[in-house]
Symmetry: C2
């Protein structure tokens, strides 16, 4: 028998890290259909509480999984169950962009990112909950660690489903903090690639200057696999790069950002632990004085561009837009086109200045969120600590490694140079090891335990 | 009677410049319904030869025109008939992106640019022909000056319709040279705003780094009006800016580009005339040595990104893609993601270097095309002289002012600093006056004569 499931308890399969499952699938030590069934079992058990999905097609996924098991290995994601934020078009699932305006809307084609994952052999399982048009009005998803808390947004369902072991990987997008924040609140790894490295074709457009496609996994190597497929850059998932990062000394800029005073106790404690764990590699970094006002600039660019992009919805379906979104659109409409032109020129200058940050640093460590997931699901949390990096277009990855005072996940993000996503991921792999190693007890804080993963595969 | 039509021959109305018509419409010296009827008459007479439209709704346009005539002035484009390249979504017209894959496809919402024009009071008349997915395989449109010649592409129908007096204004897009080239071949003014100044929401995505929404008119002030609506920056259409440009001495960099040896006799003669007309303002400018390889870089970025963006069509509908487009996609797929990352870093550097060009120059004069429209409609012409400026994200405007040896229109483009679209347009207005004034006989070379326009309004 060559199926992993014959020798290990099926309950653990859905908790495998994607890269581990991918290796087992490629060797045919694991069948796609078994992995999928484990995810479906998990969904059946937990979806009533978590509510990560807006639609699901188990039958189609099972058919494809059987086909994959019977055929050649298709690509880097062969046999991995994945979900797609409902902001991305899908040819075989309705796509409502989190808005009643688009209820039941069936796109003709997949978003490019979805097509790339399918071509790489991933098994599309369903669409995941987005906030309303990827803005602040929440969907129904709850934090799998504590269902009274928000999972973050706007990529709420994708982060929650991966955190809960329902999916190996999931796609999301970030305009302010919509990948990093839900990753932080749900305790998974979230990866926002460099701006425009991943095609946005078929993604509902909000802000050309900011919108970025990325995704979630349970480890750095998971999102590295996904990132390699999305960018077409195989270096992102090349183990030799991970080894190289481990070998050479890293120069990590410890950048608390000008908003550090707003970080809460949980984030401060995580920061202190990280500083200790990275002693010898890290050096405090302050943004240069000419790089001030990034958060305000990001807000203005987002508001102006979103108001323009959603103009069709505003002029025809305003009654179906939430009050907070209408308020954002009106904020955006109050910004003059002349001011926006200056803002775009400022963005270009800031992105150029950001290059300078990487002359003496390989990567930057920075806060991901103010703290752990807030209580309640009416507010998806503050993207404050993500806005600046999104504005700069830099690749970011959230690393979960700690627990807050209420037991919810906490972590920090690592930020890389524009276009050097492969270096960021390699560095993140090493940094994550240090952070988890420094606090071994915390490595299993997430409901999907990396320890369980290791045990499952050790049985082979 | 307050209708212009009562006192001037209706035949001239469809040839009015958009800004002149807009002023008369706002004063109620001209009725939207009369202007529209003049355009419809022109379409009826000429569309069998020109074939600029893929769809048209005269009844809906007439209803709206009557409503506009009976109500308050809605905005800068009040009562102006406009057309939309079939690459932009429209809620009331099918949108096929120039591809049989999307035959009959009806989007749920307008593209943002379309919604903005409608909100400004423009009267949508129809969808105009795009090449296949805005690439090189031509549509059915012919050059209105000589129907055996290409109108250029990919915004073929929009340029031809405006040139032929069927529409006051039309929307298009540019990824390589799809606004400037058809403007040049059809002898109209084409305006490509700074990259990402105009929302691309609802526009079929080909290349995030390059795609830009813009449009066509019969004068600089026409596209300025359209540009003001699309960017939300009223400075673009502010007459005070046009006057200021006329008052102050302009510093014009005469930039033949490194590909000048490929310009033909028509373009060279136009260049010589322009040099004479602008004597005292112009100074030869060579791109600095570090700004080489822009054309090759643009081609690589376009091929890679288009191959990713059209991946869904390629994997599901390859049989319905033309051979040249398939070849481009395969070229793009041969470029590695690692190379593309370096290319994106190079684009960022080049855009930064481009800022330096504007330290000593207000605007740059450059070739638009190799020459006049080539014979035949199987090839939409070479975007060679547009690729570099598109890569740099700079605003560009084509100025028609000469005739080639076969009588077809020829002109040059003016290029501005990123984000300074209003300065470019003001400068272009002045430059265009010099170019036309230097060659008064050529001012009426286009089938839509500015002389006729002036006569029509002089009757008021």
């Amino acid at each position: 028998m060559n199926s992993l499931t014959a020798r290990t308890p099926p309950v653990a399969l859905n908790q495998l890290e994607a890269w581990q499952a991918a290796e087992a699938l490629a060797r045919r030590d694991l069948l796609a259909v078994d992995l999928l069934r484990a995810c479906l079992d998990r969904i059946q058990a937990r979806e009533p509480q978590v509510q990560a999905f807006v639609s699901l097609n188990a039958d189609a996924a099972l058919r494809l999984a059987r086909e994959l098991d019977a055929g050649p290995v298709r690509g880097l994601l062969h046999g991995l169950p994945f979900g797609v934020k409902d902001l991305l078009d899908t040819e075989d699932f309705p796509t409502a962009y989190g808005s009643p305006i688009y209820a039941g809307h069936q796109p003709l084609a997949d978003a490019a990112a979805v097509a790339l994952c399918r071509d790489a052999g991933a098994v599309m399982l369903g669409k995941t909950v987005s906030t309303e048009l990827a803005n602040m009005s929440p969907g129904i998803t709850r934090n799998p660690h504590a269902t009274g808390h928000t999972p973050g947004g706007s990529s709420s369902g994708s982060a929650a489903a991966v955190a809960d072991g329902m999916l190996a990987l999931a796609l999301g997008t970030q305009t302010a903090g919509s990948l990093i924040r839900p990753a932080a609140y749900c305790g998974v790894v979230g990866f926002k690639p460099s701006h425009n490295r991943v095609s946005k074709a078929g993604v509902k457009s909000l802000s050309e200057t900011l919108d970025t496609v990325g995704g979630f996994g349970r480890s750095v190597r998971d999102v590295a696999l996904l990132g390699a497929v999305l960018t077409g850059d195989e270096r992102l998932a090349d183990p030799r790069h991970f080894d190289a990062a481990a070998a050479g000394p890293l120069r990590i800029g410890l950048c608390q950002t000008p908003d550090w005073s707003l970080a809460d106790t949980d984030t401060r404690r995580a920061w202190d632990r990280a500083e200790k764990a990275l002693a010898g590699s890290g050096k405090a970094l302050q943004l240069p004085p000419e790089m001030t006002g990034l958060v305000a600039l990001q807000k203005a660019v987002q508001a102006f561009e979103t108001a323009r992009s959603l103009r069709p919805e505003w002029r025809r379906h305003a009654a179906q837009l939430s009050a907070p979104l209408l308020a954002l659109l009106e904020d955006g409409m109050r910004i003059s086109g002349a001011t926006h032109a200056q803002n775009l020129q400022a963005v270009a200058r800031q992105r150029q200045l950001a290059e300078g940050l990487f002359q003496d640093h390989d990567v930057l460590l920075a806060p991901s969120t103010v703290g752990a997931a807030p209580a309640g699901i009416d507010f998806t949390g503050d993207p404050l600590f993500c806005r600046g990096w999104t504005l700069l277009g830099l690749p970011c990855i959230h690393l979960p490694f700690a627990q807050g005072q209420t037991g919810l996940p906490v972590g920090l993000q690592l930020v890389g140079r524009f276009g050097d996503d492969h270096r960021l991921l390699a560095a993140a792999h090493w940094v994550h090891q240090q952070l988890l190693g420094q606090n071994p007890a915390l490595a299993t804080a997430a409901p999907v335990a990396t320890a369980a993963t290791a045990a499952a595969l050790a049985e082979r």
